[in-house]
Structures are given as C-alpha cells and as structure tokens.
C-alpha cells in the first residue's frame, strides 16, 4: 500500500498540476468485518454440528456397549436382532441395508452413466435443456412418496411377475429398485458434470484419428472422467445406505437375516425409525441400541465419503 502511494506520489510530482494526494490506506469497513465474521460463524456452526452429532452418538453408543451383556464383537457378528430378549446381532440389519443399496446401485449406476453420456455427448443443446430439468424433477420428489410408490406400485408389479408366493408384501427388492430411481438424478448429474469437464481438445483429437462418436465417448471421454464418476457412484451408495423413508415403508419391519431380496427384512435406518417412533423408555438397551446402529451407519457413510475423496484425488487426470 505505502509503496503504491509513493509511486503515485512520484508520478504526481512529475506532473504539472498541484500534487493530488490519494488516500490509499486500508479503509476500515465495519460491514465487511461483520460479513466476514458471519461467514466464519456459518462455517464453524456446520463443523460444530458434525462434532456434536458424533459426540452424542458416541456417548449414547458408549452406554449401550457399556452394558455387561453386550460386547462389540457379538454386536458385529451376531445374526439375530431382538433387543427385547437380549439378542443384539447387527448383521441382519446391516445385511438388509447392503442388499437394498446394492439393488439401488445396480439400477442407478448404468442408467445414470448412460443418461449422463447421452446428455453430454449426444444430445443437442435444445434436447438437453428439456431433458435435464425433467430428470431433476425426480430429485425433488419427497422420499415418502417414493416409499408409497414402492409399496403400492413396485411391489404389486414384482408380485405379478414373480408370483405372490415368491415375493413378500414387504420386500427389499421393491425398495431397492425405487431407491435406484431416486438416486438416478444424483448420479447422472454428477457424472454429466464430470464428462462435460473433459476438454474438447481430447474429443477433437479422437475424431481426428478417425474414432466414431461412440468410440470417443467410451474410450476417451469416459476414462478421462472416471474420477468424477467414481465419486458420483460412492455418493450414490452413501445416499442409498442412509435412505430411511422408502425402506421404512416398503421393506418390512422385522429384522431378518436373509439374502433373498424378495423377502421382508428391516434395514438399519428402518429399525431406527420404527423404534424411535414407538417412544421407548430412556436408558433401556433397546433405546440405546438405536444410537449404536446410528454410529455404525455414520461410520459407513463417513468411510464412503472419505473413500470417494481419496479416489477422485487418486484418479484425477489434470489436463489444463
């Protein structure tokens, strides 16, 4: 600052006119300070909230594991979950969470990437301007609506195809399929961003070498955008793992250790929703168990997020 002031001073000194003094000192702007403080506050609040959640979950889960009848190992390896009679094996809940999430990803990933590729590589700008908002409408549908869509549309459809005796009224497959539809816009829009970010020069080089549009898209653009697509995939998985309303409505309300997606089974989130809706007494193992499950759920999604960051950093291709 002083430096520039001196330079200006010199220039004005050489000028004919009377030197004009500019006050280039840092001006104190109170509103600026307030805004900065406010923004800092916002950032700190979100960090503190996260910390608070982790602390609270940890504290209550500690109470649960502090019970002499419950050990972390039996919690993680037991295959029966009936807190009322002292059976605390989380595997049935975890298993059903994984099955519904895998079904959701199997639906959403190929469809999402194909949609993204169409939008970014093939669609004319006009078509894209119509298709994209329509796709984004899906993202705005409340999950409770998806839940009833699964129960009253998808389940009867599955039962019609595979037979009433093979498909339960409440089952994991219908919730998983509908969850796939729910995360489709998330995956397609994140993948499309990744694909569009690939520099035009790469495509032009491929065309120049005689590649077709499909070859360019599949062999040049897709690998180049891989890091973004993997990140989209992992965010989709963690969204599916944490989804509550759809599974609470459509997958059933009894822990069940089964690998058959047409059976009813309760997911971790579904269990938490059901138990907390029934007003349990505080400080009973049943009540504390929902925090232990919550903590496990948090660790799973947290781990997935870290993985997604690590992968997108590892595979990032920097072109410019």
């Amino acid at each position: 600052m002083e430096n520039t002031a001196r330079i200006t001073g010199k220039r004005t000194a050489t000028a004919w006119k009377k030197p004009v003094s500019y006050n280039l000192q840092k001006k104190t702007r109170p509103t600026e300070a307030i805004i900065q403080a406010f923004l800092l506050f916002c950032g700190v609040v979100s960090i503190l909230t996260t910390l608070g959640i982790v602390l609270e979950l940890g504290k209550e889960a500690w109470l649960f594991f502090g019970d002499p009848e419950i050990s972390v190992i039996s919690f993680l390896t037991g295959t029966e979950w009936q807190p009322k009679i002292g059976k605390f094996g989380v595997l049935p809940l975890l298993n059903s969470t994984l099955i519904t999430s895998v079904i959701a990803i199997v639906v959403a990933l190929p469809l999402g990437i194909a949609t993204a590729m169409f939008l970014s590589e093939y669609a004319s700008p006009k078509m894209r301007s119509i298709l994209k908002p329509i796709l984004e409408v899906l993202a705005g549908v409340p999950t409770v609506v998806y839940g009833y869509f699964a129960l009253t549309f998808m389940t009867p459809l599955l039962r019609g195809i595979f037979g009433n005796q093979n498909v339960d009224v409440y089952n994991m497959a219908s919730a998983g399929l509908v969850m796939g539809i729910m995360i489709l816009p998330l995956i397609s829009s994140m993948s499309e961003d990744a694909l569009s970010a690939v520099p035009r020069s790469l495509r032009e080089a491929a065309y120049g070498l005689g590649a077709t549009r499909l070859e360019t898209a599949l062999q040049v653009v897709l690998p180049a955008a891989l890091s973004g697509i993997i990140a989209a995939f992992i965010i989709g998985v963690s969204r599916a793992v944490g989804e509550t309303m759809i599974v609470a409505i459509a997958t059933g309300s009894g822990p069940n250790f089964t690998f058959n997606p047409f059976n009813a089974a309760e997911t971790m989130t579904g269990y938490i929703a059901r138990i907390s809706g029934g007003d349990l007494s505080y400080n009973t193992p049943d009540y504390n168990s929902i925090f232990a499950i919550g903590l496990l759920l948090f660790l799973v999604t947290f781990g997935l997020n870290i993985l997604s960051r690590a992968i997108s950093r590892r595979f990032r291709e920097v072109y410019e």
């Binding site: 009679i85 059976k87 339960d168 009224v169 409440y170 309300s253 007003d279």
Partner: protein, 345 residues
C-alpha cells in the same frame, strides 16, 4: 438503512409496550371470572340434576391430552368426535396419539405429559410406582372389551380353527412351516405379523398365549425368536401384510379386523368365534378389557378432562360396537362410573 433501523426500533418499542401492558391488563380480570364461573357453577350443576353424567361439552374448554394403546385409539377417537359434535369449544385442543399402551404409560407416569392414558392391558406395578414418583395416582376406568382377532389371509382355507396350543406354536420358533404345527396344513413358511413390543396387545398375547402354553420364562423368547416376524406399532401395516400374503398369520384388536373384514379371514380359537356373546361371557379365550387411566388431581385441575371422562363413560357402551369392540359388563361400567364420582372434588 435508516428506514430499516426505524422499523426495527418501532418493533422493539412496540414489543416493550405490549409486554408492559400484558401482565397488568390480562391476568387479574381473566383468572377471576374463570374461577368464579368454574368453581360454584359446576358443583351446583352437578348437585341439581339427578344424573351427574348428563354432561354438556359446550360448558367446557381447554386442552385434553391423551396417548396410548392403538387398540383403544379408535374408541377414544370416536368419543372425541362426539364430544366435539356436542358442542365442545376447544376445537383442535384435544390431542390423541396412538403409540402403544407401554409408551402411553411412559408419557402419563414418567414424563407426565398426558392427562389420560389409553391402555389395552391393566397398569403394571412398575408403572404405578413411576406415577407415584411424579405425584400421580392412576385411576382405572374400564371402557369396553376387545376380542383379540387372530387373522389370516382370505385365501387361507386350510385353517379355520386353532387350539390355544396350535396358536402358540404358530408363533413360536419351534415351527417354521404351517405343516410343523398341524400335518394337515401346507408345508409353507409361516409369515407372522405382530404388534410392536411396546404395545399392550403384544403384552397380552405373550401373557395369555405364549406364557400359558410354554412357560413364563421362555414364552417371550420363543415368540421373538421365530423367523419371518414383522412387528409394527401401526396396525394398518399388519393388516396390509396379512391381506397380501396367503401364508400369513397375525393378531390385533377386533376393530381393525372389523374395518378390514373383506380383506382378512378370522380364526376361531378353541372352537369359539369372537363375537358379542362370547366376548361378553368371556368364553372366547382372548377377550380382554380396555381401559383409560387418569388421575384425580388432573381431573380437579382440568375440569374439561373430568367432563370428558364422565362423557366417555356415559356414552362408550352405545358406540363401542360401531368401532368394532364389545361393551363392558354393566358392573364394570358402574364401577368405572363410581370411580369417576369418587374422584370428583
């Protein structure tokens, strides 16, 4: 900027002025008349006519908070409807939650949030103690009788009657398939739909079916250890499950069966079908009493709660069959009415 500042200042001044006025202006005139109206008037009104249960809901206002059994819920809901139709002013001030008997007592005795607790089982000693700890003495009012309905899918034509032993076995971890209980039944997995572990219906079934047939210690474990078990505090979830599943079996209050008669089949137990006569006579083995609970101090402090309970007892027997349950015996209702009279200030 200045305009905003003046607006803020104006609001601040306004709120200070209002806050200053409020305490001096409202309480003194407001409390005095209500006390004057509520103290002498009702006592006179109670003494003058012969029937103290001739309650006019239009004379009362204020909030009433109720929670508890999902079985009793439709009865209380109906009474609330009538209470409002008869002129109760406090529209929307009656809060009624269907959360299960156990959770209902939790709110009534532990957190003390509710005025009335609905229950499909008698209060437990531990719950009475919890109530005492917050200076509440629960008073029991019998309001009706339920015959627990054992329901199956309408496509189920193989089972029409079960014995109590068969019923317990159907819900035990000892039977995987229907044929395990009775060889005449198909070799298909039993799909069980039960009320949540916090409900009075669950407790009743454990006590009067599982523990009776097995033993007191093992009944619950055998029950919860069974496969294909769906538990929900929401009876409609159970109705939907049984209605769509040919090898399902479930149980809940009779009213939920009545409401969905076309979608469900019902089993007789030990040869007895649940209906008015068998529930009243107590020959149906799964007939059980329905209650509401309150406390004399609450009824005194909130005349509207007392009036509501009086109105409930006076009318419940006339409407309960509409809801799908059965009236309690005259003696039981008379005892409840006496308890209400005793609780009057």
């Amino acid at each position: 900027m200045r305009r905003v500042f003046t607006a803020v200042l104006f609001i601040a001044v306004l709120s200070v002025v209002m806050a200053a006025c409020a305490p001096t202006a409202t309480p003194t005139p407001a409390t005095a008349p209500t006390e004057a109206v509520q103290q002498p008037a009702p006592t006179e009104a109670v003494q003058a006519p012969v029937d103290p249960f001739d309650i006019n809901p239009a004379d009362f206002s204020g909030d009433i908070t109720m929670a508890g059994s999902s079985t009793v819920f439709p009865v209380s809901e109906k009474i609330v409807e009538l209470f409002k139709a008869d002129g109760y002013e406090g529209m929307g001030n009656i809060k009624l939650d269907s959360i299960g008997s156990g959770a209902g007592f939790e709110r009534f005795c532990t957190s003390g949030e509710t005025d009335i607790s609905n229950a499909s089982r008698g209060i437990k000693d531990s719950e009475i103690e919890a109530c005492k700890a917050i200076n509440r003495t629960p008073i029991e009012f019998r309001v009706g009788t339920d015959a627990l309905a054992i329901v199956v899918n309408p496509e189920n034509t193989f089972a029409a009657n079960v014995t109590l032993e068969e019923l317990a076995k159907l819900f035990s971890n000892e039977a995987q398939k229907w044929s395990d209980v009775n060889p005449a039944w198909p070799a298909e997995d039993i799909h069980r739909y039960i009320p949540g572990t916090d409900s009075g219906t669950y407790d009743f079934f454990i006590e009067f079916v599982m523990q009776k047939v097995f033993s007191k210690d093992t009944g619950e474990e055998i029950f919860l250890g069974a496969a294909n078990l769906q538990a929900s505090e929401d009876d409609n979830v159970l109705v939907q499950g049984v209605a769509g599943d040919p090898y399902a079996i479930g149980f809940f209050g009779f009213a939920y069966y009545k409401e969905n008669e076309d979608k469900l089949g019902i089993l007789s137990v030990d040869g007895i079908t649940p209906d008015f006569d068998t529930a009243e006579a107590g020959t149906y083995p799964l007939a059980r009493p329905l209650y509401i609970y309150s406390d004399a101090a609450i009824m005194k402090a909130k005349p509207q709660v007392s009036a509501f309970i009086g109105y409930y007892l006076a009318n419940v027997s006339d409407i309960i069959d509409e809801v799908g349950y059965f009236p309690a015996s005259q003696e039981a209702i008379d005892a409840a009415k006496q308890a209400w009279l005793d609780a009057q200030p």
